[in-house]
């Protein structure tokens, strides 16, 4: 028990004093390994082998694809079309932001990357239209969480890496829950806009304008079709689909829209290395942390603890939701998958909880965790865009957290929402 306390304690104390999560998890793991004589040389071997996995290469490639499409101006084109479509409604611009983020979720697999792409477009124009800046930042941050629920998704790639559930099946499982969450975020956006009298845009898109905007955006709209289509037609693995998507976005940006300069491409490549390294820094050392957890007997103790609390699946799922939501305040999605998820995995069979459904459910909880401070990666991005500290923006984010939690409960207790598509496509047998 002391072993568990030291391992987790060291990890949390280091994060609390402001060390990067990657450093904290690495140091805690090294402590666990050395102090309990688990073989210190596993540090370097694990570092390389946790990263060098073909399925994980999908992460940088999906990031690169999103960067290229965003720098190529495709996010702007999609948003123009969606604003014409719904801009006239009360809170039209905010609702357009939610829909655009949901759509961008089908292009990008990263919440913060989506928040940056969508935020740059919507936040300035929302502020100009009279929306409160902190509200604008919250709308974008919350709906950018959809990026890790709607495929492609870094969280699903990592979950698949940990549990060996097919990433392709997980991707399919995320589609309906992602749309459900989009509806919940859209509803709360509408309610707040109505109450604060955020009016819609004056201009109305007539059929001709709409068609033109649609035509302008068609290459962006095709991107998710190509990504998901190539996976589900059985042509490509998720990693290959990511690679195809990279070259598709390069082609569209360079040859069709002529909007990608050499400099843009280089910037995208650097941004890709950084964004993926921020994730992989945690992955590289978190693997050792999970091993230490298992070796030190923490997992067995936790399993017994969970079974002692309740034997009902209903209560078990509620417990998981609560634990993941609380963890989401203090940790990022990837650390939670490595540090918290292994605690619950061994008891899933006892409660007859399906592994794919479980992955979708916890990912929804992780998406909410991206907007709950102090560690709120999406909110951090949008707060920077409006140049305000995180806690000032946080006041506006709570309604989205609450509606997110209601959505999470729906997804938790209606497993069919997550399982129907993968089963219908015969990609998964529960």
């Amino acid at each position: 028990m002391t072993a568990a306390l030291i391992l987790f304690g060291l990890f949390m104390v280091l994060i609390a004093v402001g060390a990067p999560i990657g450093t904290s998890i690495g140091i805690a793991s090294i402590y666990g390994i050395m102090h309990y004589g688990l073989g210190a040389s596993m540090i370097s071997r694990n570092f390389a082998s946790s990263i060098a996995k073909f399925p994980l290469i999908a992460i940088p490639f999906f990031v690169l694809e999103g960067e290229l499409l965003s720098k190529g101006g495709l996010a702007k084109r999609i948003s123009d079309f969606i604003i014409l479509l719904v801009g006239k409604a009360t809170g039209g611009l905010a609702i357009a932001a939610v829909i655009t983020a949901a759509f961008w979720g089908a292009i990008s697999g990263s919440g913060p990357a989506t928040a940056a792409a969508i935020g740059l477009i919507f936040i300035p124009s929302m502020i100009k239209q009279g929306y409160k800046d902190t509200f604008s930042a919250s709308v974008v941050a919350a709906s950018s969480g959809l990026a890790i629920i709607i495929p492609p998704s870094i969280a699903f790639i990592v979950y698949g890496n940990i549990t060996s559930v097919s990433v392709g099946a997980l991707f399919l499982g995320g589609i309906i829950p992602g749309l459900v969450m989009a509806v919940f975020f859209g509803v709360i956006t509408y309610i707040i806009s109505k109450r604060r009298n955020y009016r819609g845009l004056e201009q109305r898109g007539n059929a001709k304008e709409l068609f033109k905007a649609f035509k302008d955006a068609i290459w962006a709209i095709l991107a998710p079709v190509i990504i998901l289509g190539s996976i589900y037609a059985g042509i490509a693995t998720p990693t290959e689909a990511a690679i195809i998507a990279v070259f598709y976005s390069l082609f569209v940006g360079v040859f069709i829209y002529h909007s990608l300069s050499w400099n843009d491409i280089c910037d995208s490549l650097v941004a890709t290395a950084v964004t993926s390294a921020v994730v992989m820094f945690v992955v590289a050392f978190a693997g050792i942390f999970s091993v230490a957890e298992a070796q030190l007997g923490i997992l067995d103790a936790a399993a017994n603890g969970i079974l002692a609390i309740s034997k009902s699946p209903f209560m078990f799922l509620l417990l998981v939701d609560v634990v993941f939501l609380i963890a989401g305040f203090f940790l990022d999605a990837i650390s939670i998958l490595y540090v918290i998820l292994p605690i619950f995995l061994p008891v899933l069979k006892i409660f007859h909880v399906d592994l794919l459904f479980f992955g979708v459910m916890v990912t929804v909880a992780l998406a909410i965790g991206q907007i709950t401070p102090p560690v709120a990666v999406n909110l951090y991005v949008t707060a920077n865009l409006i140049k305000k500290p995180l806690d000032k923006v946080a006041n506006e984010v709570w309604p989205f957290v609450i509606f997110g939690i209601i959505g999470l409960l729906v997804i938790t207790y209606v497993p069919k929402l997550s399982l129907w598509l993968p089963v219908a496509f015969k990609l998964y047998l529960p």
Binding site: V17, G18, I21, A48, I243, A277, P373
Partner: protein
């Protein structure tokens, strides 16, 4: 065009090579029905390299995930202590990784002569990227820590 640093050029080149190799592999498998899976080996090892380089750049840009809620409330001297501890731990962490990597490389070169599965090249060729590129991690950790402490000093004046 802004000037790019050496680590930026390195990731630009390596990520491009990874993408081209990956695309070539996809094409060859589905058009020519011939797979050269050996490229997978290069890709995954390059992925390790760009991760190390990306970690370095992220230290410089301050993009790593973390929590500053408590840190922000620290008095200046405690902030400096926290910055230094955090930097020393990051250096210790990569020093450990390097130490054991170099030991493995040494053993591979002198005794095991281990070769890779697909391309049959000596494994140390891949492993050696970790200690080499992590020099940049050390540099960026020190650079960013000094910069942050300096800006704290300026803030208190």
């Amino acid at each position: 065009m802004n000037k790019r640093t050496i680590e930026e050029w390195l990731v630009i080149i390596i990520v491009s090579v990874m993408a081209v190799l990956g695309f070539g592999n996809v094409l060859s498998r589905y058009i020519f029905h011939a797979s050269f899976a050996a490229t997978e080996e290069i890709e995954i090892n390059m992925f390790v390299w760009i991760t190390v380089l990306g970690i370095a750049i992220a230290f410089e840009k301050g993009s790593h995930l973390g929590m500053t809620m408590l840190y922000d409330k620290f008095p200046t001297w405690l902030k400096k202590v926290a910055l230094v501890i955090s930097a020393l731990l990051a250096i210790y962490l990569f020093a450990m990784v390097d130490y054991y990597s170099i030991r493995e490389i040494y053993k591979d070169m002198t005794f095991f002569h281990a070769r890779s599965d697909a391309l049959n090249v000596p494994i140390w060729i891949y492993t050696i990227g970790i200690p080499i590129f992590s020099i940049l991690v050390f540099e960026k950790v020190i650079f960013s820590t000094v910069r942050n402490i300096k800006s704290l000093n300026r803030g208190t004046k």
